[in-house]
């Protein structure tokens, strides 16, 4: 990936971040911290990696993205709107009565959303089901899933991981958004994930690591995950910052999980995102 492409993706990531702020501000409240945490990864996937078509959201053999940490819908909507799945103005309807953008992802409501998620732990199993069906029918797509570090406290994540390994789903690439924070505090103070590289490795995955805000490094990790396919699914640990890109949110720490953003704060945040070089 050349420097020009990286700059383009960084610019797109800024737009996604601004979309997140816009949607969460309009939605009265929303899961802004975790959305900003994965904004770069989602941007990279939709604008460089995934084979998708906003004109045909149900295209056969499209790559899938399952946002298992379904509360981070704003990040997905920010990217989908930018990609052209629906008009950007619709971000202003998030969480409003009758919206097709509920803050937790709903595949029946939003063009481009591949799976409903919100009850944590389930999305990864759904991704396993898609990858399994693809393997069975000779599908060539790659199934991507994003799970949270707090979400990893759900036992179902580990059930899903065992099934993925057993069924040899090397068409599955999982991202772990490792920002060390969950709703009520720090993982290390609640139930710690310890060393996810060792853990996922022990479960039989190929494990890679990347700075979750570095396009080049993430892309390299994804490329490795794709080219080193050997029957094992892959997991990429993304080292991330919850609230990344907006100083006052970053400073809030775990309290940015589901924050109110006033129009004034949104305006300032958008100006900050525009100005900052990430």
């Amino acid at each position: 990936m050349d420097g020009k492409r990286i700059e383009y993706l960084k610019t797109q990531a800024k737009e996604v971040r601004k979309n997140i702020i816009t949607a969460v501000c309009a939605g009265v409240t929303g899961h802004v911290g975790g959305s900003l945490s994965i904004a770069d990864a989602v941007t990279l996937l939709y604008f460089h990696v995934m084979h998708v078509n906003p004109e045909n959201p149900h295209m056969k053999n499209r790559d899938r993205l399952i946002l298992s940490k379904g509360h981070c819908g704003p990040a997905l909507y920010g990217a989908l709107a930018l990609k052209g799945y629906f008009p950007k103005e619709e971000l202003l309807t998030m969480n409003q009565p009758g919206t097709h953008l509920p803050s937790h992802c709903d595949m029946l409501l939003t063009p481009g959303v591949d799976m409903t998620a919100g009850s944590l732990g389930q999305g990864l199993s759904c991704a396993v089901g898609i990858a399994l069906a693809a393997k069975l029918t000779g599908g060539t797509e790659t199934v991507y899933a994003i799970i949270g570090d707090g979400e990893s406290q759900e036992g179902q994540i580990w059930e899903a991981s065992m099934a993925a390994v057993q069924r040899k789903l090397d068409n599955l690439i999982v991202f772990l958004d490792y920002n060390h924070m969950q709703v009520d505090g720090m993982l290390e103070d609640i139930v710690d994930l310890l060393d996810p590289v060792k853990k996922w490795g022990a479960f039989g995955f190929r494990v890679y690591e990347s700075d979750g805000h570095d396009m080049k490094a993430m892309h390299a990790a994804i490329e490795k995950a794709k080219t080193e396919r050997d029957g094992r699914p892959a997991l990429i640990v993304l080292h991330t910052v919850k609230g990344k890109g907006v100083a006052f949110l970053e400073k809030m720490g775990p309290s940015n999980h589901n924050a109110l953003i006033s129009p004034e704060q949104a305006k300032a945040a958008i100006a900050e995102i525009d100005k900052d070089v990430i």
């Binding site: 732990g121 089901g129 069906a133 069975l136 899903a160």
Partner: protein, 318 residues
Amino acid sequence: MMTLEMRTVLRETLAEEMTRNEKILLFNADLGKANDTHVLEDAFPGRAINLGIAEQNILSISAGAASYGMIPIVNTFAAFASRRACDQIAISVAYANQNVKIIGTDPGISAELNGGTHMGIEDIGVLRSIPNITLMEACDAEELRQMIRYMNSVHGPFYLRMPRRAILEVHEPNYKFRFGKADLLRQGKDVTIIASGITVTDAVQAASELANSGIDAELINMHTLKPIDAEGIVQSAMKTGAIVTVENHNVLGGLRSAVAEAVTEKFPVRIYPLGIRDRKGQVGRVAYLKEAYGFDANSICETAIKAVREKRSVANAR
């Protein structure tokens, strides 16, 4: 007449269905041997698989596979197919409207010697309160065959409960399963008996004995528990004025509750509930447990007689 084991019918029908439609998958949860469906894992490699002892995972995997256009059938004991994976059924399957079919075997007392931990006495209650899932219960082999074919032919989440062992045939070979319609097995005017699943044969026997005692019972096999045939129930209630419900389930949340909801909206009559009266499960054979919980044929007769007597005494008092 005693028929084939229900699990044999399950296996044979699934094999036919999987041959007919290659989109149909079967996911076992390490109870393929118990349910006699493990042989399908060899017959349909890759399409029939044992996903291990992880029901929650299996339900969400099924939703994912369904979103890809497959028709996954999840097969395990009723207790684990429902109770264990209830959130996954609610969100991954029903809320997301995925075309997943769940077959829960050995509900309620049919778990027999596996005892209380394995007795799904609350599956219908739990699942009935989840929007967008259809619930059915098979009372004999022919009904089971037709239910499986039906649920595979219609898009949407289904849950089917059935015993594994052989049960008496209720229906003639020319039986035609009519989804969502109360199956009227006997017309009567004195009292309505509404039964489902393994209680239907007892209700048939009870209705026959009641006839000998001069009580003309109407008998309904309520194979579709959700959506329940409210109109059929009300029509019968208007004719007989009293209902006895018989279910292999807690009387809270299952058939009795569904029937009560139906009649109280349009034509309230007294309902005499037979089933597991909010008690825990226990080890035992079906015949013993039916008697212990009070929903054997004799209990049905006694309750129906009581219902008719009380109905008449109320009428006389007026």
